[in-house]
Symmetry: C3
Amino acid sequence: MADSSTSMRLRLPLLCIILEVILIILFGTLVEYDQHTDAKLWNENRTSARNDYENEFYYRYPSFQDVHVMIFVGFGFLMTFLQRYGFSSVGFNFLIAAFSLQWATLMQGFVHGMHHGKIHVGVESMINADFCTGAVLISFGAVLGKTSPVQLLVMAIFEVTLFAINEFILLSLLGANDAGGSMTIHTFGAYFGLMVTRVLYRPNLNKSQHRNSSVYHSDLFAMIGTIYLWMFWPSFNSAITHHGDPQHRTAMNTYYSLAACTLSTFAFSALVNHEGKLDMVHIQNAALAGGVAVGTAGEMMLTACGSMIVGFLAGTISVLGYKYLTPVLESKLKIQDTCGIHNLHGMPGILGAVVGAVTAALATPDVYGKGLERVFGEVETGQWKPEIKGGFQAISLAVTLGMALFGGLVTGFILKLPIYGAPPDTHCFEDALYWEVPGEEEGHSELQEVASPNEMEKLSS
Amino acid sequence: MADSSTSMRLRLPLLCIILEVILIILFGTLVEYDQHTDAKLWNENRTSARNDYENEFYYRYPSFQDVHVMIFVGFGFLMTFLQRYGFSSVGFNFLIAAFSLQWATLMQGFVHGMHHGKIHVGVESMINADFCTGAVLISFGAVLGKTSPVQLLVMAIFEVTLFAINEFILLSLLGANDAGGSMTIHTFGAYFGLMVTRVLYRPNLNKSQHRNSSVYHSDLFAMIGTIYLWMFWPSFNSAITHHGDPQHRTAMNTYYSLAACTLSTFAFSALVNHEGKLDMVHIQNAALAGGVAVGTAGEMMLTACGSMIVGFLAGTISVLGYKYLTPVLESKLKIQDTCGIHNLHGMPGILGAVVGAVTAALATPDVYGKGLERVFGEVETGQWKPEIKGGFQAISLAVTLGMALFGGLVTGFILKLPIYGAPPDTHCFEDALYWEVPGEEEGHSELQEVASPNEMEKLSS
Amino acid sequence: MADSSTSMRLRLPLLCIILEVILIILFGTLVEYDQHTDAKLWNENRTSARNDYENEFYYRYPSFQDVHVMIFVGFGFLMTFLQRYGFSSVGFNFLIAAFSLQWATLMQGFVHGMHHGKIHVGVESMINADFCTGAVLISFGAVLGKTSPVQLLVMAIFEVTLFAINEFILLSLLGANDAGGSMTIHTFGAYFGLMVTRVLYRPNLNKSQHRNSSVYHSDLFAMIGTIYLWMFWPSFNSAITHHGDPQHRTAMNTYYSLAACTLSTFAFSALVNHEGKLDMVHIQNAALAGGVAVGTAGEMMLTACGSMIVGFLAGTISVLGYKYLTPVLESKLKIQDTCGIHNLHGMPGILGAVVGAVTAALATPDVYGKGLERVFGEVETGQWKPEIKGGFQAISLAVTLGMALFGGLVTGFILKLPIYGAPPDTHCFEDALYWEVPGEEEGHSELQEVASPNEMEKLSS
């Protein structure tokens, strides 16, 4: 089935090995344990006043593990909805995530601040690397089924680099808040991926259309991904906020936003179907938009009620996007968005950025008390200008959109080179191109075993 | 397949939107961040003696996440064992849980104590809301496959309200211990659900009997639910116990109870089968009874050995219940209990309440030392009367049974109104009534693709 | 299908009940809460200087839960790759793990130190018991599909006992470091299991060969196991290291090792396939070897770069082992290793032991500072001889190999007795022997329902 032009025999091993060797060399040269992971440094600083329970590990590792589950199980299984692309969905997700988190450690370290020429790593850098990986996996959703693993790794190389630069501009230069990544992760990942899939437009993709859909069991596998993303999103948004009240508040705001989002998703999914039937695509995806949409404002004093309003809106626009916008994007703008990332990450990400800007513009010392500087970092007493802060948040969104679209454009053209073994139009959404797929179906093998030819005759007579 | 009377086109969206709007208004009016989530309050109270690591978040959030997994993955996938009801099992579980946790926040807040007219929320209220949701999902198990999502939401409205009242009577008025909810969650949820399904009795349910069973893969999906419930039950029972030794001890007692329960489940599952074969229904459900049965006594000095005895008994009665009691309940008492919640939550819940009462009645200051008040709250030195405490525990069980049966009766009759789009007897346990179900099976689509008509002829000749 | 000789009707219940009764008696006689779980002891020791957040629970319980997930979901689902053995894979994994963790608590308690004649239990003993269980499950992988549950329980009895003895020799007598169990868990479990399966060699196993393979969906279920093992391995390796920097560092080293291992696994999986296609067996297993291989050195100052080199090598040898060594082991040495545990746990375990010995031999006070004693326990200032430490690490590997092979040999012969209801050669890898398996396939039931005979005629005409 796979002709030689799609063979991964040499391309994939070569690329993986070269990349890993480069990573190992760069890590050996540049990466050091930080104060909380280094045996010498931690124990020098540890005094009776600073005990082991103050190690960053205990504040963040449970959140890290939840994020890790979202990246590998959440994104991986969410994409198994396709009937013949489960191996690739989970497998390529696994591969590009494992690469991206290493590469992100370096890129974020380069850009966000070296310490005496060294990149310091610990649980915070691990969370940040997983976050950056999340953006790559969002973009993967747009091109799912239409790209070779080599293309995906190449995409990851560029996207991680640009992610780190954009993140640096937002967090360090513009002083933006974006703890849960409405802008840096979701908006960036979505529009980057949408631009890549636009450049890779396949006019004859309908030749693989019969495989571009789900079957009963593949939808259940996808629900594993959905539910894990949904449950752990509070940990995602709160993973790198300040200790104490911000971490606690962010988790709770996200919890309420997602709960409200689920109700609006079910409501609009039934409403837009002419028989009133629910659509698994909406449940699998739109119910998560509430997490995306409080990615910026979640750490602020958004209130539970405010979070629920945002979540409700996010679920609504996401379902409506799947129903009415995605077909238009494909037919008019030639954007073939396999997973509908525009509806799950794109529009809710922008909503999240706007909500963040507005919430920041309304933040007063009266509401936040001494906690103001814990949320908005750079504040000095008496100098807090929330409207300026809100403005910078809005600029951050614009910068992110620009970086994502430009980066996706360039990366798309690089991925168009005919050297990566991309699948032909007739064999998109098909595992057998890149995987040894077991040949027989269980139903048949069981029948063969249980019923010999003679028994079959008896049964049919 | 769905006639207009079961259409969710208007009913479900209307109900969801109205409920969410009411929730948003009530949250906006009544709900405030608590001392650990409010930026101003936490930072006012934070001093050098009270550091961020004392924020409730770090004591409870990992437990909360485990509970959250049990609610959404555990309960959701446990019910996917039905061959044609996987979408509804996971999906409706998702919907009613997302609604219930919001509604529970309000109801529990109303009843358990307002602070100056406001409900305070934080990680503890999140855990309590998830707990209340658990009771609704237990009841869902009894009516699984025979109810529309609108019916389920209406059931949740009533059940959550009564749950909060019952919980208030037990914990506040009677001063009962029930950290893991043997009474408040399991006994209440089970007998409430059993009464609802009794009122909704369908004499002609056998018309859908061929769909009321599992297939190979659906049993494996259900095992995902089972195993997650089993693994995280120690976190469930310990999630809201006092910090320190009670949380630690509860988790451990539950761990041993479940381990012993698993052995008795396997033992009796093989024993009651005339070929000695294991039954997936038992493994999926009865192995969990050990967690239910130490839900009250788990925080007490039950000892590992005591926990194992309780777990062993729980597994035994649960398997025997599935084998011998469930058929009788259906044929004699007209209780159609789809998931057998009487065996998993009902009887083990009562066992747990009894074990709790006995263990409390045997508690002495000699054994608990200064820890006595950390377990039994209200104790004043020298005034500890364990036998009275045990009596109150027993009264609590009786109150719970009464509230559950009465509440289920009323709710059942409300759910009987012919306005909710309930499935007809011929289409119970069928996803296609409420969901867009992918039409083709993978095996067939693959065959079509691999084999053209000509090839098919060759194969069959 | 099952003849009487494989019936579990009496054998399994008797064994389970007898074992659990023995466990309960021994727990009742010998086991006590430790200082962190006992109500009296913890509250006596609790002072203003020692608050609840210092309870071991908060340091280790999140890690414990991750380990618990690996044991029950990770190992359980990893083995569901077989097309007709999913119930047994998850179910027997569940049974023998639930038994082993209880038995391990006793055996490890006996051997590692009684306190005034009592075994003390808390979260550390729970983690250690789960670790020991891990070794049994590794061995289970070698004999998967060829053993009855009674045989597996008997194997667990012996293996747990020997595990505890070997662990005592290594950790207490030889003072070895092995926090993540490269030696005690992986090497021991692998070579024990390989020797057992050697003794149980079945010359006619090819009669069941058609069932000894995967189907599409079973491979996806197995990926659930793989991904959970992969994600939580950092928690596994760090679960019982010292508080603070060692726990933090171990988790991070494991994270990088696994990431690098994933890239080498994909690279070599494509390279060794003549069409360049990826093999699910490699992805499911070899990608995990990086966690095994830093099980000893992970807590040391291995550096991220060092971890990546080790992970890369581990993935490489593991894939090559699956491709080239496993067939030879079967044909020449008569070792039928169903899951290929030699490639996932055996060789990477030995690699991990060697890496640990070398890293220990290179450890200097200059690098570790005051943290040296936190990693290498027994160090006194000025007396640190790393090369001797490295030697003891190497001796530990030799001891482990000897204990495992000897223990496996004896246990294998005990398991060979014809009294356990082992499956006949014709019915290996078959759930129906020990389970009530639902008879019909979903595809067919759906067809029957949707299309009546008349409709079928119309469709086919």
